[in-house]
Amino acid sequence: MKIRTLMLAATCGAAVTAAAPGAHAEDYKVVILQSLTGGAAFIGKNVAEGAAMAAEEMNENGYFGEGNRMDFEVADDATDRTQTLSLITRLAADPELLLVMGPTSGSVAMAGASVANERELPIITTTNTFEVIEAGPWSNILTQPGTVTIPYIADFAAQDLGVKNCAIIGVKDNESYVALQRKFEELVQEQGVNLASVDGVALADSDFSALATKIATSEQDCVFVGTPASQGANIILQLKQAGLDPSTAILGHNAFASPTFIEKGGAAVEDVYLIGAWVPGGDGEFGEAFAANFEAKTGIAPDEWHANGYSGMQVVASAVRDAAASEGGATRASVLAALTAQKDVPVVIGGGTYSFDEERVPHFGMRVMQVKDGEFTLVDN
């Protein structure tokens, strides 16, 4: 009897000592809510993969300190406003949850922003529309708005290439592409470039024969194609097939910075200029390591969105760690405050560091690239 008590006491003691470091161990709960299905899945699925990989890596490396980890979960907004509204509402009811990384795009992100501000839950949506920031203090954006990115390519076109007369092809039924295209038009016009023509295609279109013939038979020294990568490659292919003058400079924005672009366009997209946050294969040590690890893990080379997701998680994790170190620990409010105060977080995109400005607009820079021999190569400027 005595012995048993003694043993019990001993085991208890052991248990207590064993648990002692664990008493401080904390789980920081974050949900990666992206469009895994539906129209924006080509963005959301990749962002989620990149973000999840970053979180796993940081947990393994003990980024959050001894015993602490990020408890993350991946969920699907299905590119659907209704489902997003109900999901975020339900997520917000979980007191443990610190932040939602998502939802992915456009109106879905706006729907998410409305609930997040109502229920005071920090979210960082993948989209780059200002409306998400304007919707309230709790909703943030992960990617740089057109006002930050487009100057890189517009200035390059007007100053470095010195084009004079530009044909514009945009997407008419997606607001973020429209915004980028308008910004490009505005910036080049300010620098004295004439707009030869402005056309819009629908995201679901694939027949550009009429448009291609129209542009190929008109006069211009530059064509700006502001569409998603595979569609843009296809438009350029059809432009070339319609007999576009080979000396015409073809430009695109960061949507083209994806392996898909070269895969779909083949020889037709040779020499096309574009901007990208992600240089395929990685630029710098951190980026190259990410590209190698990602490919080893998934079997495919990471694209712009994988890299954005990976980088976004670096920023989120840094914010969570800062918040945890602050007085009062990690709460929704402290995570939000830490997030928007992030400066120079090392990332794998753009110039290599990620910062928010006073207006909560993200800045990480853009690189001008050109397709050469079927590869994206940096253009020195």
Partner: protein
Amino acid sequence: MIQFYLAYQPIIDFFLLAVGFGYSQQIAFRAGVFSIATAGFAAIGSYCVAILATRTEVPIFMTVILATLLAAAVGGLLALPLARLRGAFQAIATLAFVQIILSLLLYGEGFTGGALGIVGIPREVNTWILLLVVAVTMYVLWNIGRSGMGRVFNALRQEESVASSLGVNIGKYHIIAFILSGAIGGLFGGLQSLYTFQIEPHNYGFAFIVNILTVVILGGRTTLLGPIMGALIMALLPEIARPLAENRQAVNGVILILVITFLPNGVGDEIVFWFRRRKQARQQRKRASEKEARDAVTSS
């Protein structure tokens, strides 16, 4: 209960909006018009409210009234040329109407915001308002169904030539059906604007048309219970199928096929019909037993 409401409130609200759009769609079907113009009416209503609410001082309540009237007027005008068409031709003409509205919304960037749509619409609508408006709509439709107009609609749906030979002015009733469909569509479109903060043309595209058609056909094309059951199924499907993750959409498809194959009149209509049949059977039994009793009396 209140926890449940908080967690599922958006689903409830979207369910109520879908019921409203369902009634706009259903009133056309009830009158024998194969119209799919509801998406167009909803777009007109929601843009009307969104533009008035964000750019003018018109009271919110008035914007909804104006949206309803505008969509009703468009419905009435649309009915005039459509009166010459029948069946699938009506369906395609109304599809053309929706596509025209959508592309004008995309094109008229200065006025409609183009693909970006209109943002920053005040959120003035909550579950209780939606519930109230749905109830009022149901009350109005209930009364129409019991009136002479409801009987004419039924006659038109079942056999137009007979109705016409009985001296019914078909054109007039089709116009009324379109005005009602427009008014209800515009009304709920306006409410949707005031609920979702932001609208864009894409909201009223092909997916919207397919969704509302499914709500009404799956739920039932003639009874008031129809759109409610249809919207309920469509609202619950994504929730039930959520654990299935990427197979969700395929499972939705399977469920749609099964339900409509075994209940081709739609879930709501089948329920109502079942009750009606039971009532009739009971009355017949009652009549038969009364007759038996009478026969027994007379024969004795």
